[in-house]
């Protein structure tokens, strides 16, 4: 086994990625798959804005519009934002804590393939009789009445990809608890690792309610149960609760890693230690904790009663406090630092006012009495796009520029990066700022058109125009990626020159075993400490020895493929077609067969021998 990647044919590279259990390659898989779904979701968004650009438009029909908005929301949240976050967690977190991989590399691969097949399944609905059309929240009264298989695609697709996410979360938790390098105490972990930790805990607790909700919905739609049907003694509100018990923590699952990425950026490019590190950790944990007690703020208008509304309103507003702590810490990190305006720093800088705007509208929405006015209008749409795009998507774009060199060994072009930033930033505010007013003027969300003379024309035209800007920004970024990959100029360990944490102490991209010798961590910003003492790299915490590595395996792919096949069987079983049941059984046999193989076949991995590692040294550290 050689350490250096030889020039490989396309087939060999493909096979390598299909069977990999290496966290860095899985990160690339997440980045590619999440990126593709991001483009699909973005295209859907463009269709929405074209339809709404002028009154009485018939670019798409009402039914198709419902499918597009449902798929836009579902794709963006579950298949774009989460996987992209997982990409960075996989790529960076093990390096930041000085580990050679995640705790369960095999399970990591299973997680990815489950997400991937779930996402493909969901999107195949477009070609197989129509996409889900009950909104990304899939409220039961709508979802159960929905004709065709659209909602079934939603249920089964999310169920499959949800398993993957849950496993991923558990994997990250175990990794952070057990695999930190010597000296890496909890309170020395970089903030991105901390936010990965809290996010994973949120995943652990938030996904089971979704799973339960989806199972109940599956029984209602496919097997004749009536959990959510009031006429049959069920209760449609139960779905809403289950969905939001998952759904609100979900928005924090998205935003906390974004906070983590921005914390890294602020301290790197202010060339200062993060201000108030321990209060940042505290705020992250507190946000995660409070995130579970506020879900009913999405249901103020369902008639929970004044007491419940008041309790949930107060709890919701309380989240503003730790969030505020974070905002001030970021500002104080920049204060007095020698700030360098790189592309990631542009995003971080823009993030602060944008996210504060989203947080303020959040607190407005949290006032239950006022929410009767705002609910289900474009005001809510503006709110969550300010937090999700202005927070999460900005962080993902910033993270792409920041970690691209670490993941691929090449540096994205800064000028193009800044063009992307400015077009995206201007486009974003143009699209969504005006939607606050549309909402206050009374335009309801999720309508496929509006009439002339209602006063909505200009604002909608502006909004659609902004969407075009955002699209240009994304296209420029794609060009940037292509140009950079073609030029293929390799960079060294610390291409930004301001790296503080362990990932910048090793080559870009790191060798497949990450650390030849586990590093000794002597404090927060471990690599920075060594640099400040004039050292070149980290002090090793162990003598050079054999390294134990896991073998690649094709089983994760097969396991997930089995569930994908079984899902088709389960879905068409409702139509009483004869092949449905055999297909379902076949799919499950494939999955359980693969699991069985994995259980009985011993796979002890392999060792990289000391001599090989020393050879690497002789050749000199390339790149």
């Amino acid at each position: 086994m050689s350490t250096y990647a030889q020039k490989k044919g396309f087939g060999a590279t493909l096979w390598d990625f299909l069977t990999t259990v290496d966290h860095k390659k899985i990160a690339i898989l997440y980045l590619i798959a999440g990126g593709l779904f991001f483009l699909v979701g973005g295209l859907e968004a463009v269709f929405i804005r074209i339809q709404l650009a002028v009154p009485n438009n018939d670019f798409v029909s009402a039914g198709l519009f419902n499918e597009i908005i449902t798929m836009h929301g579902t794709t963006m949240i579950f298949l774009a934002a989460m996987p992209l976050i997982f990409a960075f967690m996989n790529a960076v977190m093990p390096l930041q804590i000085g580990a050679r991989d995640v705790a369960f590399p095999f399970v990591n691969a299973v997680s990815f393939w489950l997400f991937f097949f779930g996402g493909v399944f969901l999107n195949l609905s477009w070609f197989l009789g129509g996409a889900p059309d009950a909104g990304w929240t899939s409220y039961a009264s709508l979802a159960i009445a929905s004709k065709g298989h659209g909602v079934d695609f939603y249920i089964l697709g999310l169920q499959i990809s949800g398993f993957g996410t849950l496993m991923g979360g558990i994997n990250f938790l175990v990794t952070i608890i057990n695999m930190r390098a010597p000296g890496m105490t909890y309170m020395r972990m970089p903030l991105f690792t901390w936010s990965t930790f809290v996010t994973s805990a949120l995943i652990l607790f938030a996904f089971p309610p979704l799973t339960v909700g989806l199972v109940l919905m599956m029984f209602d739609r496919m097997f004749g149960a009536h959990f959510f049907e009031a006429a049959m003694g069920g209760n449609t509100i139960i779905w809403e609760h289950l969905f939001w018990i998952f759904g609100h923590p979900e928005v924090y699952i998205l935003i906390l890693p974004a906070f983590g990425i921005f914390s890294e950026i602020f301290s790197m490019f202010s060339r200062k230690r993060l201000f108030g590190y321990s209060s940042m950790v505290f705020a992250t944990v507190l946000i995660g904790f409070l995130g579970f007690m506020v879900w009913a703020h999405h249901m103020f208008t369902t008639g929970l009663g004044p007491v419940a509304n008041a309790i949930f309103a107060v709890a919701t507003m309380a989240i503003g406090v730790p969030t505020g702590i974070k905002i001030f810490n970021w500002l104080f990190t920049m204060w007095g630092g020698s700030v360098k305006f790189t592309t990631p720093m542009h995003y971080a800088f823009a993030f602060i006012p944008t996210f504060v705007a989203g947080g303020v509208t959040g607190v407005m929405l949290a006032a239950a009495a006022a929410d009767y006015q705002y609910h289900d209008t474009y005001f809510v749409v503006a709110h969550f796009h300010y937090v999700i795009v202005g927070g999460v998507v900005f962080a993902l774009l910033a993270g792409t520029h920041l970690y691209w060199p670490k993941m691929f060994g090449t540096m994205l072009n800064e000028t193009l990066g800044k063009i992307t930033f400015w077009t995206f930033f201007i486009g974003f505010h143009m699209t969504f700022f005006i939607q606050h007013f549309l909402g206050l003027w009374g335009m309801p969300r999720r309508v496929f058109t509006y009439l002339p003379g209602q006063g909505f024309e200009t604002a909608n035209a502006v909004s659609s125009f902004g969407a075009a800007f955002m699209s240009v920004g994304v296209i420029v970024m794609l060009i940037n990626i292509i140009v950079t990959s073609v030029k293929n100029v390799k960079v060294g360990n610390d291409p930004w020159g301001d790296g503080r944490t362990l990932e910048w102490a090793i080559p870009s991209p790191p060798p497949f075993y990450n650390f030849k010798q586990l590093p000794l961590v002597r404090g927060l910003d471990a690599y920075w400490i060594e640099k400040m003492e004039g050292k070149k790299g980290m002090t090793p915490a162990e003598p050079l020895g054999d390294i134990h590595m896991p073998n690649s395996s094709f089983l994760p792919f097969i396991m997930s493929l089995g569930l994908f096949i079984a899902a088709f069987g389960a879905m068409y079983h409702v139509d009483k077609v004869s092949w449905a049941l055999p297909v379902m059984i076949l799919g499950l046999l494939i999955t359980f067969g693969a699991m069985f193989t994995r259980s009985v076949k011993d796979d002890h991995g392999f060792h990289i021998h000391k001599e090989e590692l020393m050879d690497d040294d002789d050749k000199g550290v390339k790149a």
């Binding site: 938790l173 608890i177 652990l204 309610p209 609760h241 007690m293 009913a296 009663g305 419940a308």
Partner: protein, 111 residues
């Protein structure tokens, strides 16, 4: 999970130490086992004895069950040992999240 604090590097001391530790462990387990049997008997008695309303017996039995779960976790599944901080943290967080959901469901949906 291994108990790293049990190893001093000196095998004789280790064995002595382990033996004492195990005996102590055993005593705890026997005591808590007896207590659990006792609690179970009380639970049966609470149902068998006439005169208690179900408004008393049901919460009472649930309380006894909770106590037993705690015994189980701490004395039989070794949660009291060092090195179990993370599992207990997650266990309690999970219980809290679940409890809040159940509380909300039972107050604002069902009754």
């Amino acid at each position: 999970m291994a108990n790293p604090q049990l190893n001093s590097g000196n095998p004789r001391v280790d064995i002595e130490y382990r033996r004492r530790k195990n005996a102590e462990e055993m005593r705890y387990q026997v005591v808590s086992f007896a207590l659990m049997i006792f609690l179970t008997l009380i639970a049966f008695a609470a149902v068998a004895i006439k005169g208690f309303t179900s408004w008393f017996t049901v919460p009472f039995i649930i309380l006894l069950a909770v106590v037993q779960v705690i015994f189980q976790l701490y004395y039989f599944m070794h949660m009291s040992h060092k090195g179990h901080e993370a599992p207990s943290l997650f266990l309690y967080s999970g219980v809290l999240v679940g409890a809040i959901a159940i509380l909300a469901f039972s107050t604002i949906i069902w009754w």
